[in-house]
Amino acid sequence: MINVLCFAHIKELTGAEKVQIQQDEMTVEQLLNELNYRYGVSGDFMVAVNEEYADKEDIVKSGDTVAIIPPVSGG
């Protein structure tokens, strides 16, 4: 199971701070497609796997924590 953390407007789209995907292994891109299919999540954002920025081709495994990071606006 892969945990997906949602922030800012992504959280408003999914309706939850955390959603779960029942998969053992998938690429970041496949995971994004799944979120798009389920919640209509799309657009410009970064992805972090276990608190580090990841590339679209990177592999996510069961037990990993993935975060969808919309364009940041701190400071």
């Binding site: 800012a8 992805v47 364009p71 940041v72 606006s73 701190g74």
Partner: protein
């Protein structure tokens, strides 16, 4: 005093406390950047802001900025605290303190830190206006992230 140099907190920030972390015998100069909530942006009146963060990752990213600064300015020491939650006009959202032996580096490294925060630290602000609210993104107009990560960020692992 909290001696962690890179902090996300939902409490008010003490400028003096962040500054005290970087003052040392070798340093002659400290610069602070203090980001406060501005009432008007492009003519639109803000009532208040809400900051949300991914705290564990944000603190890691702040520490990475500190490491980047130490690579570029080896004598610099950096401390950053960013606040989350509801902030009213003039409340302090972020304090960056950088100490160096000589002043020019303290300005340059500090400015580098705020630019990097706006690129790569997972913190988001929601503007609340009289007629609505919106999560703000892409203040730097970076555009798309084709690689899936902010420019210049490489994983260390």
């Amino acid at each position: 005093m909290n001696e962690k140099l890179f902090i996300i907190t939902d409490q008010p920030i003490s400028v003096e406390e962040v500054t005290a972390k970087v003052i040392r015998r070798e340093a002659g100069a400290v610069t602070n950047f203090i980001g406060t909530v501005r009432e008007f942006t492009k003519g639109k009146r803000t009532l208040y802001l809400e900051y949300e963060a991914y705290p564990a990752m944000a603190e890691k990213q702040l520490a990475r900025i500190g490491a980047e600064i130490q690579e570029r300015w080896p004598d610099a020491v950096t401390a950053i605290t960013h606040r989350t939650g509801r902030l009213d006009i003039s409340d302090v959202a972020v304090v960056i303190a950088v100490s160096t032996p000589h002043r020019k580096d303290a300005y340059d490294a500090n400015e580098y830190a705020i630019e990097r925060i706006k690129q790569m630290v997972p913190i988001w602000k929601k503007e609340h206006w009289e007629d609505g609210e919106q999560w703000i993104g892409d203040q730097l107009e970076i555009g798309r992230y084709p690689s899936g990560r902010p420019e210049g960020v490489v994983n260390r692992d």
